[in-house]
């Protein structure tokens, strides 16, 4: 074998005429239909549409939010208005404490 012949054979080995067309294209162009897209900022999207998207993106969070009962707070005004409560004067309390 002449000097250099082996190296020449190696360099031609990468050319493969029989490679499938799709495989060749994949190497040429990269992944198909996976490009970045231009879109609006979320603040510009219809809030109703955004809400529907959020429901799918975070169904657990939205379920919690929707099912969460409002906190029960004491309602002093209603308690005061209940009729027939015994009215005790503060002086009577003082007498009892003595």
């Amino acid at each position: 074998m002449w000097p250099g012949t082996e190296a020449y054979e190696d360099s031609t080995a990468t050319l493969d005429e029989d490679a499938p067309a799709d495989e060749v294209d994949e190497l040429d162009d990269g992944p198909v239909d996976d490009g970045a897209q231009l879109c609006a900022d979320e603040s510009e999207i219809d809030p109703h549409i955004l809400h529907l998207i959020r429901e799918v993106e975070d169904p657990v969070g939205y379920e919690k939010f929707e099912r969460k009962a409002p906190p029960t707070l004491p309602q002093p005004d209603r308690a005061r208005s209940v009729p027939n409560l015994p009215k005790v004067k503060s002086s009577a309390f003082k007498r009892i404490l003595r």
């Binding site: 005429e17 162009d29 198909v32 239909d33 231009l38 609006a40 549409i49 799918v56």
Partner: protein
């Protein structure tokens, strides 16, 4: 011995060269799509009314929808889908990317219904608006969406899309999509 191996090497050198243009043509043909359909002589499975709506998108003529515009790596499937849907009077896709479009359609409250590929094909044959869509995933940084406009081959949805390639009638090339039709 030395002479024989040299002759073999020379034979390989002669057989290898292949014109690049020819390779590209084979690739396009293998993928199976038609960039611009002949409206007077449509592919057998494409709905004529939907073909007209697809043409109005400008998949092959609108500069802003071409892959790589305004910068390399940019594609416009979402904008094409929005333009297509608007012709049906639907404007819910406005400003969304393909991933968000997929999520919107996946919500039953949105008015979209998930259907089988066969049902999507039938909807397209009936002239209804239908889409094939995938969300972003581990293997793909971006979602993808395409209008279903007919039947490319028996049981195979024919789609119209903007993407790495823009074409008016062809087949889906990403991972298996979901199909949606609207009320």
């Amino acid at each position: 011995m030395t002479i024989q191996s040299t002759q073999r090497t020379q034979r390989q050198h002669v057989a290898k060269p292949r014109p690049t243009v020819q390779k590209k043509q084979v690739t396009k043909k293998a993928k199976g799509y038609i960039s611009k359909v002949d409206l007077a002589n449509l592919p057998k499975g494409m709905n004529p009314k939907l073909a007209e709506k697809v043409r109005k998108i400008g998949l092959t003529t609108d500069k802003s929808l071409q892959p790589g515009y305004p910068k390399p790596g940019t594609t416009h499937c979402n904008e094409a889908a929005q333009k297509y849907a608007k012709q049906f009077g639907y404007d819910g896709f406005k400003g969304l990317n393909a991933d968000k479009m997929n999520k919107l359609m996946s919500n039953p409250k949105s008015g979209w219904h998930k259907v089988t590929e066969a049902e999507a094909i039938q909807a397209a044959k009936d002239g209804k608006m239908a889409f094939a869509s995938v969300p972003a995933s581990k293997g793909h940084a971006h979602g993808h969406i395409a209008a279903v406009t007919g039947e490319y081959a028996p049981g195979v949805a024919g789609i119209s899309q903007a993407g790495s390639d823009n074409y008016e009638f062809g087949t889906w090339r990403r991972e298996t999509p979901s199909f949606f039709v609207r009320d």
